[in-house]
Structure formats: structure tokens, C-alpha cells
């Protein structure tokens, strides 16, 4: 059946949107999208959990092991020098991608979770004390809640939470009320992983800086959708995971301002993070190496660099524009379905649609969509406090990438109708 597409898509896309006009070619770059699941063509709408990888990223990993594998730093042989060069080049690419001042401000980690833990444990445990305060928001992923709770437990600091509106918007007035000179850290997400809602991150950082607090931005969900400039944001830390921006799993980034990283103690200790070791005294390496103990995920960093190149080639502004059209189309289409509620329906959003249907549990929605080849996520999305705030135990979440199509949203729509028919 040929499904007609309403006017909303094209009207939002400029005549020249490169992605819209080259979508078939772009999809060719992602081999996994071609496969059938449960006998149906895969419709992958779980991009907020992890994105698929373009062939150049997959090739970069296998090429590394085919031609480059060796341990980096201090190797005097050809392969080690070359691998070190590529690993450090990846760091420079990341630095350019988020516009950091220096490559020494880019620490490679296992992912955003480890990045936040590093900042929380190294900075938080060292500089916070009893009576201090840490501010997060109701929208946070567990990864940006639990490390701070642990810092509070160990230091006696208190955790304060910025409330949100029923639509998932940060209540700035309430945030201002929380600010005082006891607040030492403000750690907030740039885009909600569960709802897709963008936070007023510039304003949040600006006000935090006015009272001298350190700021951390969880950019995990922003990095695939928005242009990031850490200098213009003015944040002290920025974290993201490589796999959410078309790179492999197991590689992530902690950006930290150099002067802060300098004064922080190591998070883990061992090889590579040292300058010299005697049994009496160890001198630590310079940043960022001070925070990279042990052999790192070399192929992960190198492949992440390829992912960044891929995204840059497509152009992040074009990606935003195209994904925004997908988002509006999906929201409009799903609004037609009786008893379907979309959570976080605000104008300022990344391409995520979180919803549920009256009397049908999201898990059942997920299973039935899966039988149609449609991959979405159902659950609390690692945001249990947010789910409690919204008064739901779980939601179903469709999240989009530039390789998704309007036709795929039509398939999602039909699969949802089938779900209702089966369950009601």
C-alpha cells in the first residue's frame, strides 16, 4: 500500500536539504538497515538508545586490527607510532567537533556514564564538603543522578532537583530559587533522553556561573542532533558517548576545562597515566593522559573519529532540519491515534517521541511493533524519577536519526493501529 505523506514534511524542509534528497544513498552507508527482522524490513527507531554505524566506522575497526594493531604511547616501532598518531588524531577531531580550546581537554572514557563518574568522583569528592549543594534536573538519566547521590553521601553535600512542567520543560524560575552560594555543581542534560525535550542549557550555565558553580552538561542525546560548541556554552564539563553519534560502544568523551582537569586528582591509576614511578613516589602524567590509565579503547577512538567525519560531511545543521521534519511528521501522525498520549510535547525538541496508549502497556506495544519489524524502546528509559513525575510506569519511545524516512513513520503508524486492534 502506498501511503500518502502529508504536507508537513516538505514544507519544513528547504528545497535543498541534502539529506532529504539523498536519503537512499545515505541508507546505503548503513548495511544493517537492509536486513529483515522477523520477516519484515527493519524499521530502526531506537536511535536514542544507540545509533547504527556507517560502513566507514565498521571498516575503521577492522582496518585497525588488520593493519595497525599495537599498543600506543612509548612504542618505538612503526605500528605503535602509527597507532599513537591515529589515536591522538581522533582526540583532535573530537576537540574540533565540540570546539574545545585544546586537545588536552578531551579525555577518552568508556562512555558518558564513566565521564560523569570521573567528574563526580575526581572533582566532586575532592572539592565538595558538608553543606554544599549539587543541582540536577528532573529530566536526568540515572547516569547523571546516581554519581552525584554518591558524592553527596560521601561528602555530606545535598542534592537539589530542578522541577519540570507537565510537558517536561525545565522550570527556570524554580531553578533560580535553588541558586545560592552553597551550590557548587550544576549538572544538567542538554536533551532529555526519555522525552527529547531540549533544556535551556545556555541560561542554566550562565546563572550557575554567576554564583561560581561548576557546570556539567550531559550531551549524550544532544551530540547526534545539534551543533555543539563547548566554548560558547561556557560549561566546565561536557560528556557524551561515541555510540550515540554513530561511533562504536565502549568509547566516550569527557571534555573538561584545562585548569579544572589540572587541579583534579586521577580517577583511576596505573600505567599510561604516570610520568615516573618509584616505590616512594609517583609523578602523574599531564592532562588528558592523567585520566587515561591502562591501555585505552584505541580502535574505538579511531572509529569515533570516522563517525565524526561522517556526521560533519552530512552537516549537522542539515541533520537537525531533516530530523525536525521527521519529528513533526511523527507527532502529527501519532496525534491521529485515539487514546495515544505524547509526553514532552514542546516546540523545543530533538527527534524523540515518547508516548503511551490508554490501557495498553508500553511493553506490549514494543513487542507487537517488533513483530512488524519496528524497533522502539519501551520502559523507564533509565529515568525512573522522571517517569514518577509524569505519573507513568513506562513509556514507548520512538527516536529518529537522519537515516530514517517518512515512510518508516507511516509503517510505525500502521503498526500502532494493529497494536490497538489486537489489544483492545
Amino acid at each position: 500500500m502506498k501511503l500518502e505523506t502529508t504536507n508537513i514534511d516538505k514544507s519544513l524542509l528547504k528545497e535543498k536539504n541534502k539529506i532529504y534528497h539523498n536519503i537512499d544513498k545515505i541508507r546505503e552507508d548503513f548495511p544493517i538497515l537492509k536486513q529483515k527482522v522477523r520477516g519484515k524490513t527493519l524499521v530502526y527507531l531506537d536511535n536514542a538508545a544507540t545509533t547504527q554505524k556507517p560502513k566507514i566506522v565498521i571498516d575503521a575497526i577492522s582496518n585497525y586490527y588488520l593493519t595497525l594493531n599495537s599498543n600506543i604511547h612509548r612504542g618505538v616501532h612503526f605500528l605503535s607510532e602509527k597507532a599513537t598518531f591515529e589515536y591522538e588524531k581522533a582526540r583532535t577531531k573530537v576537540k574540533e567537533f565540540i570546539n574545545a580550546l585544546s586537545a588536552s581537554e578531551i579525555v577518552f572514557t568508556r562512555g558518558a556514564t564513566e565521564s560523569i563518574n570521573l567528574a563526580a568522583f575526581s572533582y566532586g569528592l575532592t572539592y565538595l564538603k558538608d553543606g554544599d549543594e549539587i543541582i540536577i534536573s528532573t529530566l536526568e538519566h540515572h547516569a547523571n543522578i546516581v554519581p552525584w547521590q554518591e558524592v553527596c553521601r560521601r561528602t555530606g553535600a545535598k542534592l537539589k532537583v530542578i522541577p519540570i512542567s507537565n510537558n517536561g520543560e525545565i522550570l527556570l524560575e524554580k531553578y533560580y530559587e535553588l541558586l545560592n552560594n552553597k551550590v557548587k555543581i550544576v549538572a544538567v542534560t542538554q536533551v532529555s533522553n526519555a522525552l527529547g525535550v531540549k533544556t535551556p542549557i545556555d541560561e542554566i550555565i550562565k546563572k550557575a556561573k554567576e554564583i561560581g558553580a561548576i557546570t556539567l552538561v550531559d550531551g549524550s542525546q544532544a551530540i547526534p542532533h545539534l551543533k555543539i560548541d563547548v566554548q560558547s556554552l561556557g560549561c566546565d564539563f561536557y560528556v557524551f558517548s561515541g555510540h550515540k553519534v554513530y561511533g562504536p560502544t565502549g568509547i566516550g568523551v569527557l571534555y573538561g576545562k584545562a585548569d579544572l582537569l589540572e587541579k583534579m586528582p586521577p580517577y583511576q591509576t596505573g600505567g599510561d597515566m604516570i610520568r615516573s614511578v618509584t616505590f616512594e613516589k609517583t609523578i602523574y602524567n599531564d592532562i588528558p593522559m592523567k585520566f587515561e590509565a591502562g591501555t585505552p579503547n584505541i580502535e574505538g577512538a579511531i572509529a569515533l573519529q570516522k563517525a565524526i567525519e561522517y556526521v560533519k560531511n552530512l552537516n549537522i545543521e542539515e541533520i537537525s532540519e531533516y530530523e525536525d521534519a521527521l519529528l513533526r511528521y511523527c507527532e502529527e501522525k501519532l496525534s491521529d491515534i485515539p487514546d495515544l498520549i505524547i509526553y514532552g510535547r514542546t516546540p523545543c525538541k530533538a527527534a524523540v517521541v515518547s508516548f503511551d496508549i490508554k490501557d495498553i502497556h508500553p511493553h506490549d506495544i514494543g513487542t507487537i511493533l517488533d513483530s512488524e519489524g519496528v524497533a522502539i524502546r519501551a520502559g523507564h528509559h533509565c529515568t525512573q524519577p522522571l517517569m514518577q513525575r509524569l505519573g507513568v510506569s513506562a513509556t514507548a519511545r520512538a527516536s529518529f536519526s537522519f537515516y530514517n524516512t517518512f515512510e518508516e513513520i507511516d509503517i510505525l503508524y500502521q503498526a500502532l493501529l494493529k497494536t490497538i486492534k489486537l489489544m483492545k
Binding site: 506490549d364 513487542t367 520502559g379 510506569s393 513506562a394
Partner: protein, 150 residues
């Protein structure tokens, strides 16, 4: 029959829409709370046991169709059974939902339980089906604290 209609059989959908024994027993002799953090399924199982026989059993809470219908069906099966029969059925049910899908399973009565065999094809949903049973088992064992299927 497709995997999906194996999973969402008529009986299951019926129990989901009109759950049986869906209320709270005042002054239960046994009680437990179960929680599946993966999907947020949350259930309370209440029992009234006299002379080792389950005189009354009920549940409350919210969850997906599989967990709700499993709880509902469980209450209809266990009413009137002895405690050891209930524990035995718990073992049988566990076998039904976890055995190798390629092998035929030989489980005697009650055949009503077999409608959950379709769950085997959906590994992520096994915990949904077993939540009520685990919770009931804990209630019998006198472990009133919240259990988690994770």
C-alpha cells in the same frame, strides 16, 4: 499460528482486559510485593491460608498484558490448592516459560498454564510472565519484602 498470536492468545487478552481476583484482601495471612524494574511492572499478591489450603488469593498492581494475565490466571488456578501444590505449580510454570522452545515439554495439568508457553519465543517477556508467580512464592515463604525479578 504466528509467534505473536501464540504470545497474545485469546485467554491472555481476556485476563488482561478483565483480570480475575483483582482486589486487595483485608488481613491476608500471606502477602508479598513484586517489581520488575526493567519495565516497571509492579504487583501485590494477597493470600488467605487456612489449614494449609489457599482459601482466597488476589492481586493488585499494574503491568503489561503478560504480567497481568499471568497473575490473574494464577489466582484462578491456585484457589483451593494446598501450599505444597502451589509451590509445585510454581515449578511447573517456570519450566513451561523457560524450557527450550525447540523441545516439547511434558507438563500435566493444569493445561491452562500452557498458554504461556508462547513466552519462550520472547526472552525479554519471560520475567513479565513469572513476576506474579515469584511474588506468590515469596508470600508463601513469608518473605514479605519487595522482590525483584532482575
Amino acid at each position: 499460528m504466528s509467534d505473536l498470536s501464540q504470545l497474545y492468545q485469546e485467554v491472555i487478552l481476556d485476563h488482561n482486559k478483565s483480570p480475575r481476583n483483582f482486589y486487595k484482601i483485608e488481613n491476608p495471612t500471606n502477602f508479598a510485593e513484586g517489581y520488575n524494574p526493567l519495565c516497571g511492572d509492579h504487583i501485590y499478591v494477597y493470600l488467605k491460608i487456612e489449614n494449609n489450603i489457599i482459601k482466597e488469593i488476589s492481586f493488585q498492581g499494574n503491568g503489561c498484558a503478560i504480567s497481568k494475565s499471568s497473575a490473574s490466571l494464577m489466582t484462578t488456578i491456585l484457589k483451593g490448592k494446598t501450599v505444597s501444590e502451589a509451590k509445585d505449580l510454581f515449578e511447573k510454570f517456570h519450566k513451561i516459560i523457560t524450557s527450550d522452545p525447540l523441545k516439547d515439554i511434558e507438563i500435566e495439568e493444569p493445561s491452562k498454564l500452557k498458554i504461556f508457553a508462547g513466552v519462550r519465543e520472547f526472552p525479554t517477556r519471560i520475567k513479565c510472565a513469572s513476576l506474579a508467580w515469584h511474588t506468590m512464592f515469596n508470600a508463601l515463604e513469608g518473605k514479605a519484602e519487595k522482590i525483584s525479578t532482575e
